[in-house]
């Protein structure tokens, strides 16, 4: 795919090197630990054609409505964008990525170079080579945005590969909350590969909440990498709500780069019949005295398959690390399979690290109790399953929580 002529030279250069990386790599195989349970060889990945790279976007200006800002993409194009006027005045930027490449060259270039250097699989290299549409959020130092900012991707394609991208840059001491939704455009036939990346950089004492929900079409493939650099005393809360696509492989790679940094990596997933979901979190402690928590909860219907791989990786110098990792799975039917693989790599003795995982079924006594109060079996199951996800969604903005619970109920009814 030819890079767009409007792109600045640094981006064209980055793309061509990403292209070289892509061509020099092979698709991951099951001999690699991260891909051991997720075989890509039968997905026909080579048949997916990248959609056009970034084209100049001139979105319709909209009122951000209930959020502080809203940017919306449909079928690889930015169609609407809006930001609260006072925030705009204060220097906040919410832009289609192609409009940000010049103004934010310095931070983006640095960030993307590091991301490309870390790219350890072909999907990542392909993403930067073929990055097709995306948004940038920049919050200047010291500024706190209370209301959430919405980033919506309504994907549509058949036999194509789209590469949506989000870059979030928070200045020192700033705060923001982002709700990012990747969904199938209404009426989309499905059958595309969505290869998304989110790059996050938090300067010192910044705080980001990033609430992601994925509801692609049943025939779609989904791969998504989050790469987050969390600086001194800064805090990341990431939430991964995974529901759609027949095949999904996600990773959240969180770098705790300064003392006092903290990360909460949470996820909720519902895997229906015929779906394959492989989710990975990495808590990379590269600095002393950082804290991280990863808690993922899933429900797997009959014929569904999930893999959760969590890694806590503590560098030699990262003394005083406090890290925890847990995964729970609820098996809802016959033929459901769920693997949970937590791993610790500890390079320092002065750390507090633990992990745990459980897999179970709905409790028959709890079902009977609810039914004895008049709930039908289906209603009782739904109440228990929603209750199971409830605690992990409690800190979420109401809109996100309601959206995730509605998706869970919808999937549950579809699986019944």
């Amino acid at each position: 795919m030819m890079p767009s002529a409007v792109e600045p030279p640094w981006m064209r250069n980055l793309r061509s090197r990403a292209r070289e990386r892509f061509e020099g790599m092979k698709w991951p195989t099951t001999s690699e630990e991260e891909w051991r349970r997720t075989d890509v060889s039968r997905l026909g990945l080579d048949s997916y054609a990248p959609v056009a790279a970034l084209t100049p976007a001139c979105p319709r200006e909209i009122d951000p409505g209930e959020g502080a800002g809203h940017i919306r993409f449909q079928a690889n194009k930015c169609i609407e964008a809006g930001l609260d006027a006072q925030l705009q005045e204060a220097g906040v930027r919410l832009l289609p990525l192609d409009n940000a490449l010049e103004e934010f060259e310095a931070p983006l270039h640095t960030l993307y170079e590091r991301a490309l250097e870390d790219a350890d699989n072909r999907f990542l290299a392909w993403h930067y080579a073929s990055l097709s549409h995306g948004a940038l959020l920049w919050v200047p130092p010291g500024l706190e945005i209370k209301e959430p900012i919405f980033i919506d991707f309504e994907e549509d394609g058949r036999g194509t590969m789209s590469a949506p991208h989000v870059a979030v840059l928070l200045g020192a001491g700033s705060r923001a909350s982002v709700i990012q939704r990747i969904t199938a455009r209404k009426g989309a036939p499905g059958g595309m590969l969505c290869n998304a990346v989110v790059d996050v950089r938090l300067a010192d004492a910044a705080g980001l909440q990033l609430w992601e929900q994925q509801e692609l079409a049943p025939a779609d493939l989904y791969v998504r990498h989050v790469r987050a650099e969390v600086g001194r005393d800064s805090s990341l809360r990431h939430f991964d709500a995974e529901f759609g696509a027949r095949w999904a492989k996600t990773r959240v790679d969180c770098f705790l780069d300064g003392p006092g940094a903290e990360a909460f990596l949470n996820g909720a997933y519902f895997c229906g019949a015929g779906q394959h979901m492989d989710l990975r979190t990495v808590q990379r402690h590269r600095s002393p005295k950082a804290t991280s928590r990863a808690v993922y909860k899933g429900a797997v219907a009959g014929g569904g398959r999930t893999i959760f791989q969590g890694l806590i990786d503590v560098a030699a110098g990262a003394s005083g690390t406090d890290a925890y990792l847990t995964n729970r799975n609820l098996i809802l039917g016959e033929g459901a399979r769920s693997d949970s693989i937590p791993t610790l790599i500890i390079g320092n003795n002065d750390v507090k690290c633990s992990h745990g995982s459980t897999t179970g079924r709905l409790n028959a006594e709890e079902l009977f109790y609810l039914e004895s109060r008049g709930l039908s079996e289906a209603d009782a199951r739904e109440m228990l399953i929603v209750g199971y996800f409830e605690d992990i969604l409690t800190p979420a903005p109401v809109m996100f929580k309601d959206g995730a619970l509605a998706a869970i109920k919808g999937r549950l009814r579809a699986a019944a």
Partner: protein, 276 residues
């Protein structure tokens, strides 16, 4: 509405183990029955079988409600017909708050008040519930049960003490206003103050539209809730029934009396069957 639950020659087992061995019982609204008996006599099994617990199999006999086959109904249908079971060991339900749970189960009964649980007006079902009236009623019932209102926002039974769980059972009973309630050892593990509160809850519903089966080991709850009928269960069936004076007889003579009186006879019969 008057209801009549009729149990005839009921036999039930768990796995291969028979527990109920031909039990007869009649409970009508307006009546309070006490069911007593030694450990292992099958009292809790009866409660679970009447509510439809999936671990028990009915192997013989019948249960009818106003002449209709009751055993053919699902557990939830039995509940909506007006049966309520206060559990001996209420389970903890994570992520489901007391307030949300009660609202949902009252909605299912199709009225904002929880009255007229069966039959009658179905037009108010679904979204027709009066939420303000519901909350007012819930708060009033919690006051009556001497429960902290903070429980409304807590997950059902999660982290509750034994006594709090039992109060929560009776609170649910007050809110649902069933026509027939089974209280399975609701008194076990309660101190005298908690026992009085729980009894107060049952006595509040007492009247022509409410019947109850109080399963207990101990006489003391029956001084708070005075039964109209007392049944003694032994080896899977009711061996004798009487009025409240039976409680006193049991108090003075103990369960050994029952065992001597009915156990020997039972074993003799079993011997007779074996010789046949």
């Amino acid at each position: 509405m008057a209801q009549h639950l009729q149990v005839r020659n009921l036999q039930a087992s768990i796995g291969d183990k028979p527990i109920l061995s031909g039990l007869d019982l009649d409970i009508r609204t307006g009546e309070i029955h006490a069911l007593m008996g030694p450990n292992g006599s099958g009292k809790s099994t009866l409660a679970n079988v009447l509510m439809g617990h999936p671990s028990y199999q009915v192997t013989g006999g019948s249960v009818t409600l106003d002449g209709e086959d009751y055993l053919a109904l699902r557990t939830s249908e039995r509940a909506l017909k007006g049966l309520f079971l206060a559990f001996q060991y209420p389970v903890e339900i994570a992520g489901v708050t007391v307030g949300k749970f009660l609202k949902r189960v009252i909605e299912l009964r199709g009225t904002g008040t929880g009255k007229s649980a069966s039959g009658g007006d179905k037009s108010a079902s679904g979204g027709g519930m009066n939420v303000t009236a519901y909350i007012k009623r819930l708060r009033e019932a919690m006051d009556f049960m001497e429960m902290d209102q903070a429980f409304i926002n807590r997950s059902l039974n999660q982290g509750f003490s034994g006594g709090e769980k039992k109060r929560m059972e009776v609170l649910q009973m007050l809110m649902l206003s069933p026509s027939l309630a089974i209280l399975d050892e609701t008194d076990s593990g309660l101190d005298i103050d908690a026992l009085k509160v729980v009894s107060k809850g049952v006595n509040r519903l007492r009247g022509p539209d409410f019947g109850a089966l109080i399963i207990t080991h101990y006489q003391r709850i029956l001084t708070q809730i005075v039964p109209d009928y007392v049944h003694i269960m032994y080896k899977g069936r009711i061996v004798t029934s009487g009025g409240k004076e039976l409680v006193e007889t049991l108090e003075t003579r103990g369960y050994d009396w029952i065992k001597q009186q009915y156990g020997i006879e039972e074993e003799a019969n079993e011997g007779a069957v074996a010789r046949r």
